[in-house]
Structures are given as C-alpha cells and as structure tokens.
C-alpha cells in the first residue's frame, strides 16, 4: 500500500483503499467488475471474459531507495522530442510524465482527477470561468518557485495559434488573451463557452506547466525526475529530483529511457537483462515471459479503443444503413481472440467505458450477417466493394483490418485492405480517408467528444455533425448537476450507437513486462503503461 499514487488526498485514499484492501490482488479485474456493475453492466460476455488477471501485485513489496531504472520504450526515432508540449511517440510521452507535471491528471485507475500542481480547479458561477489555485511551495528543477505567471505562460504556449502544441486539441477553447493572475498562486481562466468538462480537458499529461523562461534545449519541469541527457532515437537519462513535492519519491536515483523500434529487440533486451522494464509486450510473448521467474507481466484492462472510422459524409457510408450493416458484420469476440490473443474485451461502438455517464444499458451489438445483407440490399449496395486503409501505427490495427475483411465476406462485402506506411497514412489524406482506422486512449466522455466528434474537433475523422447530438453536448457542458448531465449524455450516446461513424469492436489491454527485482507498478485503466508511466512509484525490491 505504500506506493499508492495520490495517497496524500484523503478522498482518494478512502475510496481506493476500500477497494484494494477488500479485494486484494485481483485489483484490475475486480475493480473493473465493480465499476461495470455500478453502471448496470449487462453486456453479453464483455467485461473481460476470459482475460487472465495477471495482477503482478508488487503493491505490497517494500521498495528500497536507490538504483538505476532502465526502461525500454516502444518506437521513437530521430524525431523524438523532450519538449513538454510536443510529445508524440511512446518515449516522448514517457519522458513528459516523468519530467513534467500538469495541474491535474486522472489516476491510473481512472476513478478521479488527481490534483498534481493544482490545489483546486473550481468553476465560477457558471462553468464558463474557472479558477486554478496552485499548491504552495512548489519549485521547478532549477529551484525557481512555480507561480501563476508560469501557469499563464504554459497555457498560452500550448494554445499558441502560430505554433499550436498537442494540448491545443484539448484546451484550444480557453480565452488565452484574458487569462488573469488573481494572486501569486491563483489564475482565472475564462473559456469561450461554458464547459463543465474543463478540468478533465486541462488535466492531461501534455498540458504540463513549465517556467516562463522555458527552453527545450535545457528543459526544466516539476516532475519527479530532472533532465540529464537526451539523444533522439537512442536514449535519454534523468536524475532523481531530490526536492520533489511528494515525500520519499522517487525511489530510484536514475531513470534511463531507451528507444526500441523493433518488438523483438525490446523483448530480447528485457530477457537479456539490458533493460529492467518494457512497454507493450506482444501478447504472443506473455506466456514466454511469465514462465521465467526472473520476470513479471503487468496486464491492465483499459478504456483504450481502436475503431474503424467510416466517413458519414462520403459514399457509401453517407447512408446510415451501410454503417449499421458494417457494425453488424463484426464478430467482436472473434476479433478480440484473433487480433488481441484474448487481451481485451468486446465493445459496443461506444467509447469512454469508465465515464459515470457511459450508456451501458444500450443493447450489445452482435454479429448478424443476415441483417447486414438485408440492410445493404435496402440501401442498394449488394455486392459492395470498399477500400479499408490501414497502417501499422498501433498494435493489432493491421490484423484487425484483415479480420474485418474476412468477416465482411460473410455479408457479401468485398473489403480491400490497403496497407500503407505511417507516413502515407498521416499524409495528405489523414482525417479524410472514407474508411480507415485509428487508436485512442482512455478518456472521459465529454473530453473524447471534444477530440473527435464535434465539427471543430481536431480529429473528427468520421466527419460526424449531427445537430441533435451537438445540441445535447452543449446542454451537457453547461450542466453542473451530474445526474442531469448523465441523462443528457446517455441520449447523445444513443444517437451515436444508432447512427455514428465509428465501429468500436473492443477495448484493448496494455501489457508491460518487467524484472522481478522491481516493484511498485500498478495497473492502469488510463491506458498508459506502468500506471501512468509513474516511475516515481516504482523501485527495486528491498
């Protein structure tokens, strides 16, 4: 229990300690079940059917301070960055989580928004204005105190119109010109429209706070580890931040992050003892690594989803019957089994399963080839032939495309899988492909809608713009009463379930591997490896 993130917050403590204390080791699975039950989970075979609960449960091990932790990250290359606001690849994101901090962030179990640098983020009379209050006595790695000026500088740097950063996609709607310093620790943030979901949009790792004199060449943050060296595409090194605000953390003296573009090389580096932990262990390697007593496997159920994207304004998908037929083509369990080797659970074409407003009462969509055929016939698309564009940009995506093409044959649809490289996929046709794929992390519902389902969303890949849906989202954003908001959001999800452009076959697990000498890792529904990449919580077992 000593390594629980966010222990200092009483509300966090009671809720999660109750869960963990009572349920012991099978935390990921059991907690998932409890959550599902809360939402009236009635899906057939969803909730993790058959997924082995390989809870590593190092949670109880005593950790000793000291040591060098070497972590193998997935991907990366010459384009790697250490800029707080531009993370793209797995190693980039890992660096940001450990070197910088945002004002708040979802805990690995996704149950609450934990305050990191902020003491509070509170709405004014309406959710159109928000006050951010910093914790007292925070300092950057160079000793400079963290003040309201740094918050204003960071937010402006993120949404800068001339050079928008990653976070511009999540908080681009703040009224950056009118950010106001109320005192040294308080900033007033006006929004361009009321949004009750603002804290979650703000509370993302890529919205980190950096000092007003921030220089990415000599980067400074507030995180548990401070910068030492960085070679793009190879490795980066960080030293323990001795002044970190969370007492007794981090445990290790040094953190080294190594890039691995090749899955086999990454696994071999772990097995050969050249790194102590790796992200994305291929499912085929789980048994192999588990069989070795020197290694452990951490499997986390997540809300991460990898959809097929159908453009609702492009033929043939502009006809809702075609979209429905395509959703009925999918044999979801078969996809989980074949694509993920069972490491996932089926989904119902809806995202944000951990949101309290998740519409879990909607009937689970099952494969129905006859119905699909008949819908296609009604739409005048018998013997339909479509191109599905895929690229190896996320584990399992290409395989999912192939399985879909195979399943589509059953409904007489000829799906031509066109596999391109990532450069082509994200080239000129990105977000314009009529039928393609994507991958998303766990988010709360409104934050996800803002990313991909509004006309102004940066990643509206299905070109979804339903007026009834928009109206409901605006209502929900202005609503601070949770019960009322849930009612509105369930209605919005019903529309998506009937007519949306996403096919969401499953939520995938993330699988990490690490040396048995290490402890302190927790499962992460948030979809980030090693419990939000929080290496401040892990160390060598005493």
């Amino acid at each position: 229990m000593t390594i629980e993130p966010g222990m200092r917050w009483v509300d966090a403590l009671t809720r999660r300690q109750a869960l963990r204390g009572a349920l012991g080791t099978g935390v990921a699975l059991t907690a998932g079940g409890v959550l599902g039950a809360c939402g009236g989970d009635g899906d057939g075979g969803g909730g993790g059917g058959g997924t082995p609960a390989t809870s590593s449960s190092t949670g109880d091990a005593e950790l000793k301070p000291g040591g060098i932790l070497r972590v193998g990250a997935t991907g990366g290359g010459a384009e790697d960055t250490i800029d707080a606001h531009r993370p793209t690849s797995d190693p980039d994101i890992m660096r940001v989580w450990n070197m910088y901090e945002s004002l708040a962030v979802r805990t690995p179990d996704f149950e609450e928004l934990e305050m990191l640098l902020a003491e509070s983020i509170e709405a004014g009379k309406t959710p159109k204005t928000w006050d951010i209050r910093l914790k007292p006595d925070l300092t950057f790695h160079n000793g400079k105190p963290v003040t309201a000026d740094d918050v204003i500088f960071s937010l402006r740097r993120i949404v800068d119109e001339k050079d928008p950063k990653v976070g511009a996609a999540s908080i681009g709607y703040i009224d950056a010109k009118w950010l106001k310093k109320l005192d040294d620790r308080t900033v007033r943030v006006p929004l361009q429209f009321a949004n009750a979901g603002f804290p979650d949009d703000l509370g993302q790792y890529f919205n980190a706070i950096v000092p007003t004199d921030y220089d990415p060449e000599n980067p400074v943050g507030t995180g548990p580890f401070k910068y030492d060296s960085f070679t793009p595409g190879e490795q980066s090194r960080f030293l323990k931040n001795p002044d970190y605000w969370e007492d007794g953390k981090p445990y290790v003296d040094e953190l080294i992050i190594v890039d691995f573009t090749d899955d086999t090389a990454r696994v071999n580096a772990l097995l050969g003892g050249q790194v102590d932990a790796i992200t994305t262990l291929p499912a085929s390697q789980i048994a192999n690594v588990q069989a070795n007593p020197n290694f452990k496997v951490l499997i986390s159920e997540t809300g991460a989803w990898q959809p097929f994207t159908m453009r609702v304004d492009a033929a043939p998908f502009d006809d809702n019957r075609v979209r429905q037929a395509f959703r009925l083509i999918v044999d979801r369990q078969q996809m989980v089994d074949q694509v993920l080797s069972g490491q996932g659970r089926i989904a119902n074409d809806l995202y944000a399963p951990y949101d309290p407003a998740f519409a879990s009462d909607l009937p689970q969509r099952e494969q129905d080839l006859e119905q699909a055929k008949s819908l296609l016939k009604q739409a005048g698309h018998e013997g339909l032939s479509v191109e599905l564009v895929t690229a190896p940009v996320f584990q399992g995506i290409v395989e999912a495309a192939q399985v879909f093409a195979e399943q589509a044959k059953g409904a007489g649809v000829d799906v031509k899988v066109r596999k391109v490289d990532s450069g082509t996929f994200y080239g000129d046709n990105y977000l314009k492909w009529p039928f393609a794929q994507d991958f998303w992390a766990t988010r709360v519902y409104l934050a996800q809608v803002a990313q991909g389902d509004l006309p102004e969303s940066p990643f509206n890949e299905t070109h979804w713009k339903d007026p009834r849906f928009l109206d409901l989202i605006q209502q929900a954003r202005a609503e601070l009463d949770e019960a009322k908001r849930k009612e509105i959001l369930v209605e919005a999800q019903t529309i998506q379930h009937e007519e949306g452009g996403y096919i969401i076959p499953y939520f995938s697990n993330i699988i990490d591997g690490y040396s048995a000498k290490l402890g302190g890792f927790v499962e992460a529904k948030s979809g980030f490896p090693f419990g939000n990449y929080w290496f401040k919580n892990s160390g060598f077992v005493a």
């Binding site: 384009e79 928008p164 595409g233 573009t261 097995l271 990532s422 450069g423 082509t424 977000l431 994507d438």
Partner: protein
C-alpha cells in the same frame, strides 16, 4: 592504368548523381512529407502548417533538391528535418559504428572463407567437404535476420547468456568502446557472406588443382604446402576477390537489416527512421554513402584483379 582509374572514378561520380536523382524521385512518389510524418497522429492541419513553415517545406520540392545537391558540392550534407541538426553531426557517430561493424565482419569473413574454400577443395568429396558444402548452402538460403534471431536465441537469451541481445551503445560511446555488443551482429554478417566467398573459392581452387601446371609442380617434387599457397591459391583467388568485393558492398546495405534486428545504432537504423520521417537530406546522404562504398569497392576489386593477374597487369600498361 591511371587513365583507367580516373575514368572509373568519373563514371562513379556520375553513378552517384544518378542515384541521388532516383532516390529523390522515389521520395517524391511517397505520399506525405516530413511535417506530417513527424507529427504522425497529431497531424492536425494547423500543426502541420506551423511545422511546414518551420522546416521550410513550403519551398518547391525541386528547390529543396537543388539546395541539398548545392550543399553537397560545398561539403555540407544539409540539415535533418527531424532533428534540425546538421546531417553530418547526426550521422558521424553512426557511420563510425557501422563502419566498425562491417570492418570487423570483413576481417573475420574474408580470411575464414578463403581458408575454408581451400580446405574444402583439398578434401574434395570427403566428409569435410560435404559438411562444409551443405552448411554453406543452408546458411546461404537463410535470410540474415533469421540468422541474427537464431544467434540471439542461442547466445543471448534462451540457451546461453554470453553476449548482449541488443546492441545498446550509450550516446557518448562508440562501438569500439563496448566491443561485446558488436560480436553477434558481426557474426551474423560473417555467416551471411562466408558461404558465397568460400564456395567460389572452393570451385576455382578445384579447377586450379586439376590444371596442368599444378600437376607439373607436384611432379617436380615441390612440397605440397608450397604447391597450394604459392602456385594454386594466387591463381584461384581472382574470382574470390570479385565475389568478396560484391559481398562487402552487400554488407554496406545488408547492415540495415542486421542493425534493425540488434537495434544497433548505425546508419542502417538511421536510414529506416529517415525514410519513415521523409527526411530527405538524411535519406540522400545515407544512400549516397552506401552507393559510394559500392562503387569504390568494385573499383578496388578490379584493381586487385589486375594486380594478381600478370596478363592483365602487362596489358594495362
């Protein structure tokens, strides 16, 4: 002779220029540019526009090429789109690492395969020859990444843990500072080229051993060792030189796959990453480097052939 060398060098430069044009055209044909490739999933239109502006990608593609080739003529290989560092700085450590790997492999592979070839020829149709021939056929049929993975299983992870499975070289080190990471990649390259050179050596050695002057030498009572190393090998080695040069040139390219398997920080890895990033200056520089080695090695092989062949040596004068 000098005229020939100059001619060949001029032709070599022409070849390199043509290659740079072909690579340029190939990069043009690839959809997407450095900005979209670097941003990847985050490639929203406004972020792409901002980065294109920073990287000067809005210049016409022809002017980007002319800029690069102009830079090369004045001794600079341009700036990498991905890192914004000079390409020479980005590649210098990697060129050193790759060169060391190929050099180690060549120094082992060439004497070894010539020795093996001679041995198999002398023991023709005996067990050593059969085993050697079968083994080399099997090795020749295996792609080098399969050999690499096999070596990793055997010597790094599953059976023995003698050598590192992955060639991690810290940024402030070079390959020669940590020689143990070079062993398995170099062995992979050796196993990939030895079959070709040793088989050609065996073939030409057999031919020479059956020739009349070897019979003559033996009849004259010259010791067998002298017959082999003084009379037979120098005559049998000509085809082997050509093949060895081709194999070395192949290594300059084959190193890409081997480096990928071992995550070896060399130019091969840099090339794979640069193609994904549409990083034109880096792709051009690495391919020109590889092609340059190819051209040079062929020239050296031809010169060596002339030097060890008296007939050619005299006629070239």
């Amino acid at each position: 002779m000098r005229k020939m060398i100059l001619q060949r060098l001029a032709l070599g430069v022409l070849t390199l220029w043509l290659i740079s044009l072909i690579v340029f055209a190939a990069l043009l044909a690839l959809p997407g540019d450095a900005a979209t490739a670097i941003l990847g999933r985050e490639a929203t239109p406004d972020r792409v526009a901002a980065l294109r502006d920073q990287l000067n990608l809005d210049d016409s593609i022809v002017s980007q090429y002319l800029q690069w080739i102009g830079g090369v003529l004045s001794g600079s290989f341009g700036t990498s789109a991905a890192t914004q560092e000079p390409v020479s700085e980005l590649l210098s450590a990697r060129v050193g690492n790759s060169a060391f790997l190929v050099l180690v492999a060549a120094l082992v592979a060439i004497p070894l395969s010539i020795g093996l070839g001679v041995l198999m020829a002398m023991r023709r149709d005996r067990p050593v020859d059969h085993i050697g021939s079968t083994l080399s056929l099997v090795l020749a049929a295996l792609p080098e990444f399969v050999i690499g993975i096999g070596l990793i299983l055997l010597f790094a992870t599953s059976v023995f843990q003698w050598f590192p499975a992955v060639s991690l070289i810290a940024p402030d080190q070079r390959a020669w500072d940590v020689p143990d990471v070079v062993v398995l990649p170099a062995l992979t390259l050796v196993l990939a080229v030895v079959p070709y050179i040793s088989r050609i050596m065996r073939g030409s050695m057999i031919e020479v051993l059956e020739s009349e002057y070897v019979t003559m030498a033996r009849l004259k009572g010259i010791s067998e060792r002298e017959v082999i190393w003084r009379h037979a090998v120098p005559n049998a080695i000509v085809p082997a030189i050509q093949v060895a040069a081709l194999q070395l040139a192949w290594m300059a390219g084959g190193v890409v796959l081997v480096e990928f398997v071992f995550s070896y920080p060399g130019i091969g890895q840099a090339l794979v990453g640069a193609v994904e990033n549409r990083d034109m200056p880096v792709v051009q520089t690495v391919t020109i480097l590889g092609a340059g080695i190819y051209v040079l090695l062929n020239l050296v092989a031809d010169l060596l052939t002339i030097l060890v062949t008296p007939k050619l040596r005299t006629s070239a004068r």
